[in-house]
Amino acid sequence: MLDEGHSFVATLVFYSLSMVCYFIFFMLRNEKFSSYGSLLVKVGILFHTIALSSRTVMASRLPLANQYEFATSFAWGIAISFVGFEWKYRFKALGTFVTPIILLVGFYAALQTRDIRPLMPALQSNWITIHVSTAIFSYGAFAIACGISIMFLIRDRFQEDGFIKEYIPNFEILDMISYRAIALGFIMLTVVIISGAIWAEKAWGRYWQWDPKETWSFITWIIYAIYLHVRLSKGWKNKKAAWFAILGFIAILFTYIGVNTLLVGYHSYA
């Protein structure tokens, strides 16, 4: 099997090339490049999967335990969600807005130490597998919603631009996909929080103790809950909803990166 370090570097290279293609597509308005971008992202995912699998084999456990492992798995989750959404709703400009998020998380992973460290006893649980793997897809779905909301704002800004009109779907569809992505993310986030509480009880004897990571996942959950409600009741299916989705994703990034670097708590090893 290919060695993890090299595959990870290859992953970043392919993701970066993909982003460049998607950008060229958007700037030069040349449709061919979006197909290249889409292909390159898939090649990236292939290497990414190899990197994750070889790490899984080396560590004899899923790579979900520390900052690096979670970040790389998180980037993988966004990439997979992206391919899924791109395939399902078939629109080309999505990549221009989502590949930068994949790379942001991917390069954050690259900054972390890659040592394989054994799991401390509190992390040895099947619940952590459920907890972290749902977190990856939840965050992935929210990332898609964020990307789509940025598209929404751009489309709103350049209403009259023919290219934008052609390649960015209309508001109704953007809003619908963003809503679908948030619905998926929200249900997953709920599972993340519940499975986390069950695991915390087994490991620490407390379901919930308001440590910063828990608190921030609660805050994120509230943000998206409010989004779902104002969307229903006030019919916020426009710019405001888009800003909400972006705000929610910032909260996700803060939960994941900010809490570890700025705040102290039980979760700080993960």
């Binding site: 009109k165 249900i187 599972v191 308001w210 609660f218 809950a225």
Partner: protein, 423 residues
Amino acid sequence: MRDTGNTFNRLISFLKSMRFGLVLLGALGVLSIIGSFIPQGRDVAFYHNHYSPNKTKAILVLKMDDIYHSFYFIVLFGALCLNLFLCSISRLSSILKKIKEIPDYKTLEKLDKKTQDESLDKDSIIKVFKEYGFKRFNRIEKKNNKIVYYSKKNSISYLGSWLIHTGILLTIVFYGYGQLTYFTTNVYGVPGEAKEVLGTAYRIEINDFNIQYREDGTVEQYISQVDLKQQDGDFIKTEEIYVNNPMRYQGYAFYQTATGWATDIKIFREEELIKEDIFYESTSIMDENSQVLIQFTRFYPDFLFNDRGIINLSNQLNNPRVLYSIFFRGERMAMNVAAMGEAIQWNEFTFIFNNPQRYTYFQVNKMKGKLGVLIGSLLLILGLYLCFYRRPKELVIIKNDNILQIFGNNQSIKDIGFNQKEE
């Protein structure tokens, strides 16, 4: 009379409104953010050291040092429960009605209109329902040759958001009840000891305690082997407790929480053995007149004293030493390190530490309401699933001679489809 009734109704409709609920959620969110930035549950000195006097005062007065257990945080959660409760009660009957009722084509979207030459029979109606993914349908006769056929799918999902809210309500209420009636204690000891679990009807006997290390020296697991017994000695069960695997019995859970060092100690007064016990790190023993006290300050399994001071090289018992202090009437008389078996003399007393070993420490909790929380969480997830992935669908076909008018709702986005060149 009228007026008060009106005010009361207005109050209730405010309390059950979504707006009020969202304001409460928002407030809880904002307080949570504040609480995540101010370290929680430290002592007063901590805040004085880290914040300006005014800020410290504000933090303490507003209870921001323990925001999640503050009065107003709990009141907000209480209000949220009230809100969810009133809202769920008031919405239930209309939701149930919606589940049962015959769909009204006027509220649906017009999907299609078909005209056929030969008269339409039952089979062609079935075909249309199938086309839209419905297997069964109902039929109502209407006057003027009009026949209405309708079918409903996933109607139960109208309950989705109701289940979400009830689930959250149950979760908060039962969790809150669990917190209010929460019982916690701890018990610790070395292998061979039997200890009463204070405040419960049980005792535990520690048969064995092991720390498993990996090759690189990191800890793989802490494992205690214990017998659980009734206070009067009746055997209940024997179990291994390790991190992530608490022992559970009758609502109590015993968690492997910590470990530390203990030694045997013998205390002599003028050659006479007056006390023999197990002495735990960070504890102290006093004589019967409360005059003399010996404190077991720290344990060094692999002691080294060099120019950098005292250091501990490893967790192996290579060169065990005890750091102790002796107090007389509250004043420290001596402080030193001692080897195992070494006789420590102080006035007429002799202290001897021996047989160092690890002790195991269990936290013991009992929390009620877990079943309620579990049911609440499951309802929440079920409700979310119904809401997002089992949207109710309705199809109404109105047959008027050989014209079919088709009405429906909630066609998925796949059907709308994103067509690149649509505009």
